[in-house]
Symmetry: none
Subunit: 75 residues, 2 copies
DNA sequence: TCCCATTCGGGTAATTGGGGTC
DNA sequence: TATGTCCCAATTACCCGAATGG
C-alpha cells in the first residue's frame, strides 16, 4: 500500500499532517530550540512521538506563518 | 448487538483493525523503522504475520497519538 | 509464476530533548 | 522576556541487501 507521507518534508495538505521541529524552525527562520520553547510555552500544539520528540501540526504552523489572527484567550 | 457500520472495507476505523508499519509511521510522522523500534521496545503491541512482518492495532496507535488520556470521552 | 512496493534485519549519521548560561 | 549557543544522552533518519505481501 502506498498511502500518506513518504518520509521527509512532504506533508502537502493532509488532514493531520505533522512537521518536525527542524522543519518548523526552517519555516520561521529560527533555531529548533526556539520552536521547542514555543511548544513548552503552549504557543504551539505538539504531538509527541513515543520517544519524546515533538511533531507539530502543519495547518497550525502555516496559519501562524500566514499571519492569521491568532486566538488569544488571555489578553 | 452493535453492528453499526457494515462497511466491510478495510483501512477506515474498524474496531480491531490492523495497521502496517508504514501507516503508523505516517500518523506519527516518523520513519517506519522507528515504529519497528517502538515495537521492539515494547512501547507498541505488535502482531506478526507468518512471514515476520508487524501489524499494529489502530485503536492503540490512535490512543498514543492523542496523548493517551485513556478515558471514556463521554463528556 | 512474476512483479514491485513494503518490511524485514543490522549499522552509521543526523536531529532532538533537556539543562544551563550569555 | 526572547533568542541563540554550549554540553551530553537519547531518539530518530538513511544506508544496504534479502525476504515478505498482495
Amino acid at each position: 500500500m502506498a498511502i500518506t507521507t513518504p518520509n521527509r518534508s512532504e506533508s502537502t495538505s493532509m488532514p493531520g499532517a505533522l512537521l518536525t521541529p527542524g522543519e518548523v524552525a526552517a519555516m520561521f527562520r529560527v533555531d529548533p530550540k526556539t520552536v521547542t520553547r514555543w511548544a513548552q510555552a503552549g504557543k504551539l500544539s505538539a504531538v509527541r512521538t513515543l520517544g519524546g520528540h515533538r511533531r507539530f501540526h502543519e495547518n497550525e504552523v502555516r496559519q501562524l506563518l500566514t499571519g492569521v489572527p491568532q486566538q488569544r484567550s488571555d489578553v
